[in-house]
Symmetry: C2
Subunit: 402 residues, 2 copies
């Protein structure tokens, strides 16, 4: 049945569909449901008292500035803070490289606005962050997925894809990837940066989870590898960061680091989108960050999430059939599960809902098909005993299908 | 000289340019410059203490919810508050009609995403809000301007345009219009709503300034006129509201009211854009609004802005040459000035900058050319003596050109 508005909708709006995660998040309102669906921070770790103190302070000292219109580029001290944090002895980053965005999601949208025409080719990891797909679907782009293993993107498969599809951009989440939890190895990072330069395309590095490492050694970002080679801010790497994982998602604060000319284009695109990110939120965040918030908060988060990961991994061993495989992430919020090929995780979700436990079926993370037998589990938002119970329930649901 | 990124930019990004207002706002950082450029609230009226109290309260009582991810639709109590406020005995509005946006600017962008294909025709008031043009330019639409007089849009000119251009949408700011300050008369409102129905197009009503009335009687919105005729929420009117004018622009909070099916489409488009508007800001706003903030704040604002308008109108009489005309707004933030046809307001701005006073030249508000001899003055952001001084300086600058 066609509605009155049908004939008015733009072409791009005809295929719009709600994110399966966000639809699942609504189910999480049911009180006794155990949700491994959304990548939500642990509620008990959210810094309500620190935000309260910072807010009271800035409304006393910067109240008018915090409540007034501000520059599209973002609050200068916050841009400076991000630039300083990214700078190394080999790569000087300036505030002109930094644009503050309304969450990292907006950065994905602004980059699409500035760079993506209909039918442009994009290389993506397969699986990849579904929020990026949801944004870029509206731009009518064509995706080419590159497979991954436990070391991340299979870079040796990339060169062939680059020659065949001549993509404009490659989108990578190299560290504790969403959804797979895997981390791109140092060797592959170096190789990837080199390929980008050689083939002359752009690389978008989404580094939302890098601070959440529970074991192993930090790896340099693709931005820093490229910056070292270039002796300054690299031409072809755009880097996305967020304050949602260690400060608060409800603040909607993220940022893009890019060459100054590109940042300037993104700023103009952002003007028409929301004028600027709330000054109020930016000044609160800057106040916290400049007062050592991260140095206090990250050590509070790490042991909690590390334990939850371990509890989930142990529960998977205990409750899942032998034919099922899963990743062992060194950080982040997610474990990626691969079921026997014949099982569809969407069917499993139906069973699981009856057991009052939910997750995200893997299809949503695959832009080019496949992934029906995969699923994503998030361990950050549930306490240990809920993780144990939830995985047990999920194991039971699974046995009904195997 | 073409940069490395030139060949990567999307078509829509090639024509991107910075808003002249936002560029002018940067000049306002110069301490002794008097700015009539931006439509900024008076800083001394921003509710820093009330926001501080509400924030402390909600971080105590709803802290986790305020800092966590939230629904794309917006914070339900805030949506209910908006719906209740719009409801009349003749038109029941429900939360399903309401989407909370990251400022009203985002609403303009989301509507474009859902409704505007390249080359779609749009009818706009001439002049109109430049922020809307800036957003929609990225969508490659075609504009047809309808002239205005002191009673607003010349509705009798509309019918001919409707037949000739078959536009999808008409965009109207009927009350204390930005930039002209004029208000659409009741007779023309009724006629406009009737034409929309008869010709089967969509109407976008931007009602950012309605609460700022300094004289005369409130007029029903186009939404309410159409709703009364329909006996419920009308099919063809989408209504934009904002909390930037009476609460705080730095919060970036606005909303769309539309038929539930349309709101649902807009929600899906918003998911890909910024996931949701900051929960923190929404809960603070709801707390203030539910505790009678508007009833306290609007009576605080009105006498201050009314006096500033009167001071500016009197100063214009005193300092501007006889050949210059201007509007007499009953509310809002803006006075619209028409210079003799031979004078270009961009030239005047050069003179004015030397006198350390700025405004926005009128060309920026005209999508289809013209307006070179017009300009916009905002009176809300400057104290009486600054208005007096600024208009005197501007009069001197003008005399150099007349």
């Amino acid at each position: 049945m066609s509605s009155l508005w049908e004939k008015f909708y733009a072409q791009r709006a005809r295929t719009l569909s709600a994110s399966s995660i966000r639809e699942l998040l609504k189910v999480t309102q049911i009180p006794d449901i155990i949700s491994f669906a959304g990548g939500l921070p642990a509620p008990e770790l959210l810094p309500t008292e620190e935000v309260a103190a910072a807010t009271a302070e800035i409304l006393r000292t910067h109240g008018t500035q915090a409540l007034q219109y501000g520059p599209t580029e973002g609050y200068m001290p916050l841009r400076e803070w991000v630039a300083d944090r990214l700078s190394t002895t080999e790569m000087h980053v300036t505030p002109e490289n930094i644009l503050i965005t309304t969450g990292s999601q907006q950065a994905l949208d602004l980059l699409a606005r500035v760079f993506l025409d209909p039918d442009d080719s994009l290389l993506i990891e397969s699986p990849t962050y579904m929020g990026a797909l949801q944004t870029w679907n509206m731009y009518g782009v064509r995706y080419f997925g590159v497979p991954m293993d436990e070391q991340g993107l299979l870079v040796e498969r990339l060169e062939e894809q680059l020659q065949r599809h001549r993509p404009k951009l490659i989108y990578v989440l190299p560290t504790f990837q969403n959804p797979s939890g895997v981390t791109l190895s140092l060797e592959r990072r170096a190789r990837l940066v080199e390929l980008i330069e050689r083939h002359g395309l752009l690389l978008l590095e989404d580094d939302a989870y890098a601070q959440l490492r529970y074991e192993g050694e930090d790896l340099p970002s693709l931005l820093h590898i490229a910056g070292r080679a270039a002796g300054g801010f690299p031409d072809r790497v755009f880097y996305l960061g967020t304050f949602s994982k260690v400060l608060a998602p409800g603040m909607r604060l993220g940022w893009i680091a890019a060459p100054a000319e590109v940042t300037h284009k993104l700023v103009m695109a952002k003007q028409g989108t929301d004028l600027h990110t709330p000054m109020f939120n930016q000044i609160i965040a800057y106040t916290l960050l400049s007062q050592g918030y991260l140095e206090r908060q990250v050590p509070r988060i790490l042991p909690v999430y590390r334990e939850r990961r371990d509890v989930m991994l142990a529960a998977l061993e205990r409750h899942f059939p032998a034919q099922v495989r899963w990743t062992h992430p060194e950080g982040g919020m997610f474990i990626w599960v691969t079921l026997p090929a014949a099982i569809d995780s969407a069917d499993l979700l139906q069973e699981a809902l009856e057991q009052r436990v939910i997750f995200v079926p893997g299809r949503a993370f695959h832009a080019t098909g496949g992934g029906a037998n995969t699923l994503r589990l998030s361990f950050s938002n549930s306490k240990n005993e809920r993780i144990e119970t939830g995985i047990e329930r999920l194991g039971q649901a699974l046995r009904a299908l195997v």
